[in-house]
Amino acid sequence: MALPVAFFGVFFAYPVAAIVARGLKADGAWQLGRLWDVVAQPDIRHVLWFTTWQALASTGLTLLIALPGAYVFARFDFPGKQPLRAVVTVPFVLPTVVVGTAFLALVGRGGLLDEWWGVRLDTTVWAILLAHVFFNYAVVVRTVGGLWAQLDPRQEEAARMLGASSLKAWRKVTLPALAPAVAAAALMVFLFTFTSFGVVQILGGPTFSTLEVEIYRQTSEIFDLATAAVLTIVQFVAVGTILAVHAWTVRRRETALRLVDASVTARRPRGAGQWALLAGVLATVVVLVLLPLAVLVQRSLDGPGFGYYRALTSSDGGTFLVPPIDAIGNSLEYAVAATAIAVLIGGLAAAALTRRDAGRLVRGFDALLMLPLGVSAVTVGFGFLIALDEPPLDLRSSWILVPLAQALVGVPFVVRTMLPVLRAVDVRLREAAAVLGASPWRVWREVDLPMVRRALLVAAGFAFAVSLGEFGATVFIARPDNPTLPVAVARLLGRAGELNYGQAMALSTILMVVCAVALLVLDRLRVADRTGEF
């Protein structure tokens, strides 16, 4: 427990506190009066209002569109199911800079909707909402679908036998079992859309702004650290509240459910209704997820031959000190380091959280571990700069900073994946081993490890994919001679000229493929007994 606490203290709480303090302190005195001044501004209130309602609307829309998907992926067997499951998760780990651009190609001017029906959504809030569905589809499919796949269908069948209509059986049996998972997924989607940055910045234009975007603008462009600090606190409180509610629903979910192996519940669809449902879901996935991704691929191939891909290997483009292709190697190295850190810290935290004597304080830490997902990357980045600048913690120009920042985002995923599995390990096994004289290390190795090994691999895979795609904090601290893939893409997009644009699309495609492969491997390793939340 000490290590995760120290890790989060030093690399999260301390830097964030430092930058917030810098903003709220003028001439050595605290300016807490600023809090109210800022919140009272009509502009800021407008931002708060927009942030909240768009998150609510996005969450509702995501549930509406993704729940049928969750059902189909959980209960139906169809060819190509596994790769498709991996692909729908790709948007979730891709940098928004890239996908926002692709999404625009779908709903924007000249996009497919435009060509077919003359409908353009690029300046409307619909573009933001749909993009949020696109990004978070997988959250619902994995969280809800994961549980749905393991609910014993015989319970519902039993209810039907006893005379309940199919609707009633579903409402009385399946829905209550599913409800906590739906609530948890909804809260996660709400959290991600409440703190949405890239999507809103790219699709929202200058008229729509979330808290997160506003924090970025105030910090990075206007340099009004005081306002940024206040907004950070506001967001912190909001996110803290969401997480507290989330933790509560999760705990409620851990009521005993009769779970069975996912492989026995799925079967081929029967009857016209089920086939129609499957077709509908597949069509949604194609339009909503595959098309934007396909646009990226298409644009990357739009040059002569594989020209853009070949150009990636030469350094005379001038944008980098190294050929852009090197970014792949850098990204992989950073992601491996970040994964190692995330698995170590997350694993230890999860282990501590499952201990029986864990007090309420420790269980509160569970929710706290999720906070980095809800704190603006620019705040963390600036915090790193001013907080970690002195020995023994002078890390500002060290390469380790990038994996550290990425690990912050990876840890919550590791904890989420490991917790349910660790909690399922029968305590009596551990006790028996201890009684028979095994050292704590040996107990862990002989009892826990064999059971959690696959969960550990899944967690590592997710941390890896998330690290690969992390952009916000990385762009702040990545060194110029080793840009990561998302950073390289952003830099290429920042210059005029066909070759630069084409290379950006080619690199994005590579990133997408790497993520998809990582996720596909991960799906092969899926834990058999209980599934994590993502």
């Binding site: 301390y14 600036f382 700069l385 020995p391 002078d394 120009s397 644009y501």
Partner: protein, 360 residues
Amino acid sequence: MSTTKKLAAVAVGLGLVTLSACGSSSESGSGGSESKTVTLVSHDSWVASKSVIAAFEKESGYKVRVLKSGDAGQAVNKAILTKDNPQGDVFFGVDNTLLSRALDNDLFQSYEAKGLEQVDEQYQLDEDKHRVTPIDYGDICVNYDKKYFADHKLTPPASFDDLVEPEYKNLLVTENAATSSPGLGFLLGTAAKYGDDGWQDYWKKLKANGVKVVDGWEQAYNEEFSGSAGGKKAKADRPLVVSYASSPPAEVIYGDPKPTTAPTGVATATCFRQVEFAGLLSNAKNSKGGKALIDFLITKRFQEDMPLNMFVYPVVKGAAVPAEFTQYGPPAEDPETMDPSKIAADRDQWVKSWTSLVLK
């Protein structure tokens, strides 16, 4: 609720743990006086040829390390935040729109660079104190899509006045002045042209004439502007964009295959001049190396290497400019300019008024 209390308790606990962990040993032992490495902090657009840097390293004996830190605004802000314990010795890339922010925060120390007399007078905006040295300049101008205007048999606009004419309705896309440096440059250009009282009227007309505002240059140029490579793929429909005078040469140089002539042109009387400076950071650890590096930045060798790398023009008299530049993107003859102290005094207010005028 007790949950919130609990969270607060943990947060406080975390804070205490870390404060005690980090507060203990903060004295540093980094007194390495004569370092052989000189560190340049810059924005993401910094690029220099390897051979040119290698030549400097060989002649001076210093090894150059470059830290790029985000776009221009971010880089300046970061440098200010870390000025007590800077990340490097020299900062390159503060422009005239942000110069006052840097100077007011005492980011730089005085140093009169060797060879400064070769730098054109008009760019020396801190002549008395020499806290910054001009390195390059560029012009923010409206670019136009040649094909669109040829297809529509329409003369491309040339001036600010033209842009509000009915034949150019719904054609221009620009960037948010609050968040984008070309967007701000364009606003300052109109303020310089029409004065403190007139610019708001001008923007009202521009708005009535259908100007579109997006957040950043990437979107404006790659997604909305029909003349750029990205815009063509995105089927963009705005043939006018606020970009740089050096964007047309970039379209040629990075064309694939290279076109024989630039697909875009510049509306020459819509330009605002941006000058970029470098300075020796106040608490630079290797100030000797930093000085040598600044001297180097205004040598002809470096100045002539710049245009094709960073798409800017040299400030040193007599420095050669590549043929693509003279051919496709010569600098504006009579660009709008503004004194950095005037920019500093009015920028925030202007951006605020602009925001409520144009975006609301």
